[in-house]
Amino acid sequence: MNESEIQKPRVGLFVTCLVDAMRPNIGFASLKLLEDAGCDVEVPQAQTCCGQPAFNSGDDATTRAIAMQIIENFEQYDYVVVPSGSCASMIRTHYKDVFVDQPDWIERQSALSAKTWEILSFLSDVMHHQPEGIKFDGVATYHDSCSGLRDLGVHDQPRNMLAGVEGLRLVPLKDNDACCGFGGTFCVKYPDISNAIVADKTQSIKDTQADILLAGDLGCLMNMAGKLSREGSKVKAFHTIEVLAGMAGDGGICGDET
């Protein structure tokens, strides 16, 4: 049986609004790794945002409208894969909260939720894929973003996959499971509280002496990297997927463009 006869899983890649606007590299790294893992990847054009800003502000009607759009555009795929624990969890665990009285939509929503995955857990748990021949020199520390960790159980997968990267050493981060203070709209609604929280986080990061910060959510990464940058730190921040795809060649998130 040759390779073309094996049915490849069809994956709809949802890059998320933050990756779309701020760091497309994460989207391209996701695309590459999913294809390396043997997926047939498509990028639906009608994707914008998962709806979290509306959901977390209590605006269920807008959330529902956006959720319907996602369902319509992604339900044709075998899997929906998202390079963010927070956005993946929005679709997987929270969409159900905004459909209460519409049986037909509830059915479509639960089908979509069930096949939506955060990318590292998808590559690891569904595709059993381990990137090979990746080199990345440095000492890195890893922050567990809250939604991925608590809603989706993303913990061992990134660590196991990173262990296969040549030249990379992972050092533990104190309070790795404590929130970085991003919280979506929280960080702009309560900037001073958010700052106090992220300042503790960047201190823990600097205390590790690592030169690389890794995590699986661009929101948290922009928060921590933006604070590190403001503090004059030279720590470079990357999404885990950028390292695993061998696409972490620049100065990182909020770093120097090369």
Binding site: V15, T48, I253
Partner: protein
């Protein structure tokens, strides 16, 4: 205490510049987190106990009337006088009348959050009774004239250095030294005679046992026993959600409570009070009153906030909350701070009076993870935001921003066009630098952090120009 949740932002601004507060909070929350982690890891049946506890509470809440009546009947048989109070004002009147009828001049008190909730201090003041707080932390904040800032450790906002200065200033005999054991000794010296002279002792209850009519207090200092036993009158004030069916159930909760609250397998004192002094008893009160308080709890029954009534007041949620650790308990301006308080305060007062509380949360979920009765706190905080939205309480700025964003998010072509333009605009605004440090309408972000200069073109723009896109378009 007077609720000032509507001034949350003002309180936060003050808290964030208080260096002593930062020291106090960091020392204590760090220790509580590591201790809890350790005892929970060592408790092999923790997950089963946690599910069982939640199930017991859910069952009891479902048949709350039945169990409350059972408790009342058994407590009455034991010799208690059971009072029912719908509101804090009713509860205060009942407490004041008991004190007046007893001709009380002084009352010792064991820490109880329900007591704070109904305003016991005011009730005693109205009755002309001197209030003596006997919990060490409550003693500290009574001297400092502070409200509590934590439901288990009400003086969490104070460093021991600050307590030393306070005791030097206020204690009849100054502490022997500023070492912590000597400070504790000084408080003991100050309080001992007052315990023995008090006319009334007032406690809360961690649990009410329906099948026996007993009330349970869980403390570390022995002050409950010294408050509830020597005086002629013992008054218990408790929320109606404290009832549990039987003794077997109590053992499930006792194992969870001390582990979650202070990271210990058990506390120093767990006492079951079964009634007034009987013939032949060496000690105990002559009169024993139990005041059961509703204060909106029945409104929560059957609503999406009902799981909050499972709460056993351990404080683990606040010990693990990044917002609480940053601003402390006083910032919330309410009796109950932290995540559980941000759910309870709107329920006990109003959505509007506590508008900031459900919003000032990152929804990180650690509170739920450590909750010994698995209360879905983040879901409830989110659902309170939805209630606020439906009640049109969201700020005009938030509404306008969300409306604009929502309009575009539902029109992908427009959205991609605007995002592309936005990315270009940000690159121009960066003026050739790698980072953006100032930006209109993004003050909340750039005040404390840099914003990266985005890549050349959004993902969609770059992708649509790529070979992959061309291939997929066929």
């Amino acid at each position: 205490m007077i609720q000032t949740s509507d001034r949350f932002r003002e309180h936060v601004a003050r808290a964030l510049t208080d260096d002593d507060l930062k020291v106090a909070l960091t020392r204590t929350t760090g220790l509580l987190q590591s201790r809890r982690r350790q005892v929970v890891d060592e408790y092999a049946e923790y997950n089963e106990a946690r599910s069982r506890a939640a199930a017991i509470k859910d069952h009891t809440l479902r048949y709350l009337g039945h169990y409350l009546e059972m408790f009342e009947a058994n407590a009455t048989t034991n010799g208690a006088v059971v009072h029912w109070a719908r509101t804090p004002a009713e509860a205060r009147r009942i407490v004041a009348k008991i004190c007046t009828d007893a001709g009380a001049k002084t009352a010792t008190r064991v820490k109880s959050m329900l007591g704070e909730e109904i305003g016991i201090a005011e009730a005693l003041e109205d009755a002309g009774v001197e209030r003596i707080e006997t919990d060490l932390a409550e003693h500290i904040i009574q001297l400092a004239e502070d409200p509590p800032s934590h439901i288990v450790m009400p003086a969490m906002h104070k460093t021991h250095e600050q307590v030393a200065t306070l005791f030097d200033d206020k204690h009849t005999v100054v502490p022997d030294s500023h070492d912590i054991p000597d400070l504790v000794g000084s408080a003991r010296r100050e309080l001992r005679q007052k315990f023995l002279n008090a006319d009334v002792g007032i406690s809360g209850a961690n649990f009410l046992i329906a099948e026996t009519g007993a009330i349970v207090t869980v403390t570390n200092e022995g002050n409950s026993e010294l408050t509830c036993t020597p005086p002629k009158v013992h008054i218990v004030t408790a929320g109606i959600e404290k009832v549990i069916p039987g003794m077997d159930h109590a053992s499930v909760f006792l194992r969870l409570l001390s582990r979650a609250a202070i990271g210990a397998e058990i506390t120093q004192y767990t006492t079951f009070y079964n009634g007034p002094k009987r013939a032949g008893d060496a000690d105990g009160p002559q009169d024993y009153h139990i005041v059961l308080v509703d204060n909106h709890r029945t409104d929560m029954l059957g609503s999406d906030l009902q799981p909050m009534l499972r709460c056993i007041r351990c404080g683990a949620c606040m010990n693990h909350c990044p917002v609480y650790a940053a601003v402390g308990g006083h910032a919330y301006g309410a009796v109950y701070p932290g995540p559980m308080g941000s759910v309870l305060t709107p329920a006990l007062s109003s959505l509007k009076a506590a508008k900031d509380l459900p919003n000032a949360c990152t929804l990180n979920g650690r509170c739920r993870e450590v909750c010994p009765v698995n209360i879905p706190l983040p879901d409830m905080l989110r659902s309170l935001r939805a209630r606020q939205w439906d009640a049109k309480l969201a700020s005009p700025v938030t509404k306008a921003a969300l409306a604009t964003w929502g309009f575009m998010a539902r029109r992908p072509k427009l959205y991609h066009l605007v995002t592309g333009l936005g990315v270009h605009g940000l690159r121009v605004w960066a003026f050739g630098r790698n980072r953006i440090r100032r930006m209109p309408f993004a003050g909340g972000w750039v005040k404390h952090r840099d914003l990266p200069r985005p890549e050349r073109g959004s993902f969609m723009q770059q992708y649509n120009a790529s070979e992959h896109a061309t291939r997929n378009r066929k």
